[in-house]
Amino acid sequence: MTREALLPLAVLAALAVAPLAGFGGSYELTLLARAMILGMAAVSLSFLVGGAGLVSLGHAASLGVGAYAVAILDAHGVTEALIVLPVAVAAAAGFSLLTGAVAIRTSGVHFIMITLAFGQMAFFTTSSLAAYGGDDGYTLYGRTEVAGTRLLENRLAFHYICLGLLALTWGLCAMLLASRFGRVLRAARENAQRVEAVGLAPYPFRLVGYAIAGALGGLAGVLLANATEFVSPATLSWQRSGELLFMVILGGVGRLWGAILGALAFVLLETWLAEQMQHWKLVFGPLLVLAVLFLKGGLSGLVARRHG
């Protein structure tokens, strides 16, 4: 194993010991859970962007579909994770499969715009769901139960569940990219014509990849709904999609685990700055621009150069 292969494990290990190393308060745990959940969404987006070359500006929609599945089931009295989780993940995968079937026929800027359009479509759909709060959003009766237990109510347990699913998401995406399937995706990202000229049409591979990323986004959405016990159209606003894309770029596009760093840095910096000053966005924006300009390979590139 090369040293670079150990770096993502180091990041996950740091998150595992964080509650024991002075970050175990409810404030810190809430913040870390949010970062890990957005990290999951960012890793699945990084799989699309860095792996398959599909720059989606609508990834928050899959997050939102997952979150709204929790809300809608909650409103109908279904709060069991064994039901909620598969339904939410399947709904997000289905949404991605349907929208991807159209979007993946385009490329470049057109792909970005069409994913954005589908994202907005989902946004306005949720805004009009009057039964589930409409614009105001929907407050859950409680967190999803796991096999009848209130496991997720325990902040520490929730922390480790988020961490476990984050590790699972990363491991799954890494495994997929290394497989035959991922080799086709990676080759098609660089040179689709070459893939066709060896006898493979990139389209079905990209579509399946898009649906898998959507399913993982939906999984993150389930956790996000549980973290805040509240779901609103803001979950799937296009700004959220942009933030996810930003986390991927900040972390480094070529490395999946970079998205975890990107999400952590983004959430922590955003929170810290917001506590320091009222007009924190005036500082946050330029900081992000500088990071993109001067961090070649993103945060993960920086870490890899130091320790790789």
Binding site: S179, G182, R183, R186, E196, G199
Partner: protein, 250 residues
């Protein structure tokens, strides 16, 4: 006479008022190296695009091993056994030379919808890739990122990729384009070796190379085949000399 492996029947393609392919009929026989030559603007590239399915002809038929492939997509033609190289080298620059070829081997060996095992650990694919790289003289460059190979090496790599798809016909679009004199010599020797085992349709600008390699030559001028024959026949053809050779320094 044996059945042709590739048969073009009266292919036509217009762009506006221009007949880029103007009734081309051509047979490539199994085992031969068949060269298509012609001055710039003769429609060679369009013809290649029609044969590989990138451009659809307005009319006419393309038969490959007796099967009508006129309406098949490029990937399906490749799976039927038609491999091509590109005029402008087309490789995956970020992959190693070996992974470039392994991708082609993978396309030919079972489904690519496999999600669990790391593809780089599949011995069968790697062995196939190494055999093809060895054949084109790139075995010792297998681990090098393809983007950093020299121009001639990239050309050879593209041929190795084509070989790994287990083609019945190799369609080489100006394989010598942009190669230096030494590289050209090496590539000609390579093509000569491949000619012993493969049927090749060669579109090439370099007349010396064509005369050294081809069993038969078809001359394309303004979208029409004005002559098909052996090297001496083409050299001696007055119409060809007038249309083509006379205006070249070859």
């Amino acid at each position: 006479m044996a059945e042709p492996l590739l048969r073009l029947e009266d292919l036509r393609k217009h762009y506006g008022g221009l007949d880029v392919t103007d009734g081309v009929s051509l047979d490539v026989m199994p085992g031969e190296i068949h060269a298509v030559i012609g001055p710039n603007g003769a429609g060679k590239t369009t013809l290649i695009h029609e044969i590989t399915g990138i451009v659809a002809p307005d009319s006419g038929r393309i038969l490959f091993a007796g099967q009508d492939i006129t309406r098949l997509s490029l990937p399906r033609r490749v799976r039927a056994g038609l491999a091509r190289s590109f005029q402008i080298t087309s490789i995956v620059a970020g992959f190693s030379a070996r992974e470039n070829v392994a991708l082609a081997a993978q396309a030919r060996s079972g489904s690519s919808f496999r999600f669990l095992r790391p593809a780089s650990g599949e011995a069968v694919l790697n062995d196939t890739a190494m055999a093809a790289l060895d054949l084109v003289g790139l075995a010792d460059r297998a681990a090098v990122p393809a983007g950093t190979l020299s121009h001639g090496e990239k050309r050879a790599l593209e041929i190795a990729i084509a070989l790994a798809t287990r083609p019945r016909l190799l369609l080489l679009d100006e394989p010598l384009a942009g190669a230096g004199p030494e590289e050209t010599e090496r590539l000609i020797a390579l093509l000569k070796r491949l000619g012993a085992d493969y049927t090749i349709l060669l579109v090439e600008h370099d007349m010396q190379a064509v005369f050294a390699l081809a069993d038969r030559i078809s001359v394309l001028v303004y979208g029409r085949v004005i002559a098909t024959g052996t090297v001496p026949e083409i050299r001696g053809n007055a119409e060809v000399r007038a249309a083509y050779l006379g205006e070249d320094d070859a």
